[in-house]
């Protein structure tokens, strides 16, 4: 039993995530709450100004509006650093090794050291390369992962005021549009490197991204159809109330069934009108029940489809053909070194995080607690949170920033996202790589038809079941 290493990994995860969130919280609170309150004179215990000038108010508003992007700018590098370490340590677990544990506490500073090393390496532009494009490519690769993730912020923080930057009614499409830009950067990098391997890698990535965007988008479209909206915040709102309400399980198609368990187990004293309850969700009793299960199967498959497409989209094993090491050396980033390579590296992990967040938001209920609501209601959580609240309230009084709703939402999102990341790492540790034509084959001949079939089935089944009731 390998308890020691597992314990070390979890300790590392908890520690680093606290650091990450601490940093993000400090940055957001400082820029979004503290400084605006200070300059507009709304700071408790400190100077109070009655009528701040318009310039001051404008600056305060500007700062507040900058908070979301600032939080991402702080969060993404620190988080990517941890993800690299997390990946390496997890792979070490799978491969009965120890992984990097030299640097700092359990190898905590390993990626930081690597990053510093990369920053100090010589930045080489190969002879014959298009220097401008060569420099531009990593930037274009990295930028979309920041602005693409913006709409997700509100969704994962339980629609917090500060993070309502762009609650687009078409949020998910905005995210997808942003996520498809990096491909351009890969082709650019491959072409500008003046290297045949890079060129092949860049072209492969273009072909791959075009092919796998279709099943990816189709699966998300189907989920939007199930939810009836394109707004990610609303999609998260709909899924609240425990695991059975999540989109991965048919978006509430099974939501009646969990109530049966306590009824049968005599946990609920009051008499329980099953027919009324089921009538609420299943207008046509038998057919509806069957359709509910069909829906569940479809959504689970769609989740798998999404993960597959996402894996291909962000070039992870088994779809890492653009940078297939044993064939193309390192594909599009063969010629990159120093800080440009670091940006590529950072962006890859950020992309992994972003697609996992999308999966969390669209399928796994965003920041929702997996425990069904009726169980939560029965637990004595209220007194605890009240006690905590009364303890902390003097501190946060007017500067309400950490409310339990936001905190727990963020917590669950992180847990879910990292579960998906862990699964991706497991896949990386197991599967070999596809060949490019097989990849195309698989995408066009298997995934796209499957996505279309599922789309039709979901449309059909949804009419018989009342989802998100």
């Amino acid at each position: 039993m390998n308890a020691a290493e597992i314990y070390k990994l979890s300790r590392l995860a908890i520690f680093w995530l606290s650091v990450t969130f601490g940093a993000v919280w400090v940055a957001c609170w400082g820029v979004g709450v503290f400084i605006p309150s200070l300059i507009t004179g709304k700071m408790p215990f400190l100077l109070q100004v009655d009528n701040p000038s318009t310039t001051v108010v404008f600056i305060a508003d500007l700062l507040r509006s900058l908070t979301p992007i600032l939080s991402l700018l702080v969060f993404i590098p620190i988080n990517a650093m941890f993800m690299v370490l997390f990946e390496r340590r997890s792979l070490a677990l799978f491969t009965v090794r120890m992984g990097p544990n030299r640097h700092g506490f359990d190898g905590l500073a390993q990626t930081a050291a690597d990053a510093v090393k990369l920053l100090f390496k010589e930045d080489i532009t190969p002879r014959g390369a298009d220097a401008f494009m060569f420099t531009l490519a990593p930037i274009i690769f990295f930028a979309p992962s920041i602005f693409g993730a913006l709409p997700l912020l509100a969704a994962v923080t339980n629609n917090h005021d500060l993070f309502k930057v762009a609650n687009l009614p078409t949020g998910i499409f905005y995210i997808l549009a942003a996520a498809s830009i990096p491909v351009v950067a890969l082709v650019m990098a491959g072409w500008a490197s003046n290297n045949k391997y890079s060129l092949v890698g860049g072209l492969r990535s273009a072909a791959q991204a075009i092919s796998y965007e279709i099943p990816l988008v189709l699966s998300l479209v189907t989920m939007c159809l199930l939810a009836g909206t394109l707004d990610v915040v609303e999609i998260v709102e709909q899924q609240k109330g425990g695991i059975l309400n999540w989109n991965i399980l048919g978006g509430g198609a099974l939501s009646g069934y969990d109530k049966l368990a306590p009824y049968w187990l005599n946990l609920v004293d009051t008499s329980f009108d099953t027919s009324a309850m089921f009538g609420q969700f299943y207008p046509v009793p038998w057919l509806s029940s069957i359709m509910a299960f069909v829906l569940v199967i479809c959504t689970v498959l769609l989740f798998g489809l999404y993960l597959t497409g996402a894996c291909a989209e962000i070039n992870r094993i088994p779809f890492d053909l653009p940078e297939a090491e044993s064939e193309l050396v390192s594909g599009y980033n063969t010629e990159y070194s120093g800080i440009k390579f670091a940006i590529f590296f950072l962006a890859e992990f950020t992309n992994l995080f972003v697609v996992s967040s999308i999966a969390t938001v669209m399928f796994l209920g965003g920041g929702d607690n997996p425990i069904p609501k009726w169980i939560l209601d029965r637990l004595p959580l209220e007194p605890i949170s009240n006690a905590l609240g009364s303890l902390l309230s003097p501190l946060i009084k007017d500067l309400m920033f950490i409310d339990p709703a936001t905190f727990w939402a963020a917590f669950w999102v992180i847990v879910k996202v990292y579960s998906i990341v862990f699964f991706a790492i497991l896949v990386r540790g197991t599967l070999p790589r596809f060949r490019i034509d097989q990849l195309m084959d698989f995408g066009w001949k298997r995934l796209i038809p499957l996505a279309l079939i599922l789309f039709v089935v979901v449309v059909f089944a949804r009419t018989w079941v009342v989802c998100h009731g």
Binding site: M1, N2, I6, F94, T95, V96, N101, T430
Partner: protein, 305 residues
């Protein structure tokens, strides 16, 4: 269609099985070791850094300057300097150099050594900053008495008999061994030796040859040094000194005329080997066999009886 479904299900099952196997590995103990903290106890016959042992009982240097190792070394990384003592008419070791940068750790020298003087230690941490520092001289090569005891025990080598009279050649080794190592044995001992050798490097490089030739006892060292130096100057002044002279007299670490040397060495070594009562007949074999005709040998092979 059904076929397709079957295949899909089968594929999922297989992938799932693989994922499960890999995942279950995370509950196994790591098989790797954390190297600098934990150093594996290496096998006794592990072929690590070469070293010269001293007699574990008496502390005499075991080398008899027979040059067997020098001749057998495929890389020619061993260089022995010895001279024939005018009084006792026996070979005296002046310096023993091994270029560990050239050495491929085949262990042949340890196999041919008649007195089990040259041995492979278990030390493998020999990284250094320059190629020159990989050339170990006698000071760095000679083990202390404790270390020799450790390796003799570990490798289960027969203890050498103490020499009838303490040879001057042993003095250099004794000088090395005199600085007592506190370490009890094991890798600690080997490491201590390496550290000590590094410290003594500068001094050793300067005076090893002179010291070894002259120092019969430790305190005689300073007195004898100028003598030895003048001797070598003399030697250098005689350009005629080649194979013949070398056979009789001091075999210097020559910078030229390498071709003439081996023959002389072979002669000298032959005598000494016989003296040491070893069974190795390598030295006389070439001349003998060279006389035989190839055809003869072939015919011998073909002989049906």
């Amino acid at each position: 269609m059904a076929n397709l479904l079957d295949r899909a299900v089968e594929s999922f099952k297989r992938v799932g099985e693989g994922l499960k196997t890999v995942f279950m590995h995370s509950f196994r103990e790591p098989t790797t070791q954390e190297y600098p903290e934990k150093i594996q106890d290496l096998a006794p016959h592990f072929r690590g850094r070469l070293a010269l042992a001293v007699n574990p009982d008496t502390g005499d240097h075991l080398c008899i300057s027979c040059r067997q190792c020098e001749r057998v070394c495929p890389d020619k990384c061993i260089e022995i300097t010895a001279h024939k003592s005018p009084e006792t008419n026996k070979l005296e070791l002046i310096d023993f150099k091994i270029d560990h940068g050239l050495c491929m750790f085949c262990g042949l020298c340890t196999e041919v050594c008649p007195t089990t003087c040259i041995i492979n230690t278990n030390d493998f941490e020999m990284a250094d900053y320059s190629r020159e520092s990989l050339i170990y001289d006698i000071k760095r090569l000679t083990l202390t008495q404790d270390e020799s005891t450790y390796y003799f025990d570990k490798k289960e080598l027969p203890r050498p008999k103490p020499k009838a009279a303490a040879k001057p050649a042993a003095a250099a080794g004794a000088a090395g061994a005199a600085a007592k190592s506190a370490a009890a044995g094991g890798d600690a001992a080997a490491k201590a030796a390496a550290a000590k050798a590094a410290a003594a490097k500068a001094a050793a490089a300067k005076a090893a040859a002179a010291k070894a030739a002259a120092a019969k006892t430790d305190d005689g060292e300073t007195k004898a040094e100028p003598k030895a130096e003048s001797k070598s100057e003399e030697k250098a002044a005689e350009p005629k000194a080649d194979a013949e002279a070398a056979k009789k007299d001091v075999v210097e670490a020559k910078t030229e005329d390498i071709t003439a040397e081996p023959k002389a060495d072979a002669e000298a070594a032959k005598k000494d080997v016989v003296e040491a009562k070893t069974e190795d007949k390598a030295a006389e074999a070439p001349e003998k066999d060279a006389k035989k005709d190839v055809k003869e040998a072939k015919a011998d092979e073909k002989d049906p009886e």
